[in-house]
Symmetry: C2
């Protein structure tokens, strides 16, 4: 049997109220009784029951984090940032992998709400109308990661994907590239997809390059997905000198496939990723990419969430755009136009 507050009260010859006061460091306790209680706590090995406490004070000090897949290094970093901030403010994280599956997301949200999470961070590449409604409705506070909420009810932390894609494309165009392929997600629509596509189109337009949907390939955004998209691209006979991959894993897979098919990277094909995952500088060739401050996204989102959960915290709804950065590395090269 775990020892409870009444046991230490008995031991210290005081009421449970008094024990509670010293446990919670409420001042008005006589120094001497406090000592006595502290001793009783040590002697009995008492540990407060946070569940009981939560029920009473209506606050759990636990946050939920819904993330597609913690195994994706991009999301891993976000979780780490969030967890570190949690630690500082004495919160804990319940982690939930959603795999971009709307059913899982719903179930997950439901459980997090039932477990009375003070707040929830929702990370994804898109916010469906349904999820948006559920999140706005949820009794827990909510902050979005990587996506914005257009309703004005939810705050979010993200990069400007359109600008990022635009800048990346512009760099490659400056290097002489005109014929592009895009290795995108299976998922047809989605906020991030749309934004980046806008960015690419803008850059293309400004340089009188035709944006052609047939130059978009779709697959799982993974090493093997990138590999097979490259295989398809080369086999298709389409003429291209540069490919934009939706993330770095995909880019690396594409690089490996191209090499195996006898292409030199970057001499024959320039390949770009996105996100700047932790290993991007350590591959050969190094991966040209757009860095996102993933850790900061998690950390900032969690800070905002905690503010929402504390009285007198800042409740301004806003989208925080964190800086991105284009890194030109060995996987791309200038070409003669």
């Amino acid at each position: 049997m775990r020892v409870k507050i009444v046991d230490v009260a008995r031991e210290a010859n005081v009421s449970v109220a008094t024990v509670s006061r010293v446990v919670n460091n409420i001042p008005l306790v006589n120094e001497e009784t406090k000592e006595r209680v502290l001793e009783a706590i040590k002697k009995t090995g008492y540990k407060p029951n946070a569940i009981a406490r939560s029920l009473k004070i209506q606050k759990t000090n636990t946050m939920g984090i819904m993330i597609p897949d913690i195994t994706n290094p991009y999301y891993t970093e976000i979780v780490r940032g969030a967890e570190d901030v949690c630690g500082i403010y004495h919160y804990n994280i319940i982690l939930s992998n959603t795999d971009f599956d709307p059913e899982k997301e719903k179930k997950s949200l439901n459980v997090l709400v039932e477990k009375q999470c003070d707040g929830i961070i929702y990370v994804g590449k898109d916010l469906s109308a349904e999820m948006q409604a559920e999140l706005i409705d949820a009794p827990s506070e909510v902050v979005l990661g990587c996506i914005p909420d257009d309703s004005g009810f939810l705050s979010g932390v993200l990069i400007n994907n359109e600008a990022a894609a635009y800048e990346l494309a512009t760099e490659l165009i400056k290097m002489g590239h005109k014929k592009f392929m895009l290795f995108f997600d299976e998922l047809e629509e989605g906020y991030i997809y749309q934004e980046r596509k806008k960015g690419f189109i803008k850059a293309f337009d400004e340089n009188n390059i035709q944006f052609d949907d047939s130059r978009i390939l779709r697959e799982k955004l993974s090493l093997s997905g990138g590999y097979s998209m490259m295989e398809e691209a080369i086999n298709s006979g389409v003429d291209f000198t540069c490919v934009f991959c939706f993330n770095d894993q995909t880019a690396l897979g594409a690089i490996r496939c191209a090499e195996e098919m006898g292409k030199k990277i970057p001499e024959d094909i320039s390949i770009c990723g996105f996100n700047n995952f932790w290993i991007a500088e350590w591959t050969r060739p190094q991966i040209t990419t757009v860095a996102q401050p993933m850790y900061d996204i998690g950390a900032i989102a969690m800070r905002m969430l905690i503010k929402l959960c504390e009285k007198d915290g800042d409740r301004t709804v806003k989208n925080v755009y964190v800086p991105h950065e284009v890194h030109i590395r060995g996987s791309v090269a200038k070409i003669d136009s």
Copy 2:
């Protein structure tokens, strides 16, 4: 105000007991009243308060997982395996990064216990006597990941590190190597370190190769740690043809440094990692390593933990050794002896 059980009781004209029964799917409820309650639940949008429930039934259906750093791909996979199993059995995970810091570990354990986690998975490279005592003492159930408990009180899931190191070393010796360097952890002692060292020594002994502590370098086990150990190794002028790194990140860092210093990998130096992280086949050269089934370690540990948390579950204490596998890849080569 969140709607509570009494609200739906009122709405359905029944007692809270009845509502509770239908929510928990307890049979003895009249079909008709059940319908009425279900409707009231839908109408009011009632969601049970899991905290209140937990307090009453003395079970939270949440598990704690203490892991050094979720950002390390090795640990990431373990967490994913654990979380997936949790999902199946309707548990949730509270994630806690401990960074190999005994203070953080203690605090973390404490919080997990206070939050009444039904069970806790402790993952690390070593189990200090102090931690061991605390874990055995903890009112939550505990299963270890990657390390065993020699007291016979705690179950664990892990590979046989000694055998793994032995097999890896034997392979390299067969390839003609005799002069080794070892790139190990800053942390001097520790279970996994000791086991692997034993394995290396055994292989060396069997082949009349002297094991010399001066051939062990110590640094952070990271890309840059590997890089700087290789720098030091080469600059030291010590003669070696093969290096064993404690993990794959370290190996990759070492490979990059060696290349930059004009060495050809694997022709001039053979380099091995450990763990077979997800990208090991996609680097160039590909990394020779020992695969651990990380996902399974997490999944099996969680299964065992859940059994411990359910009545009539299997309470046998045991260490489950999962299979490892040596993968010889492009980062190593035969040499003429």
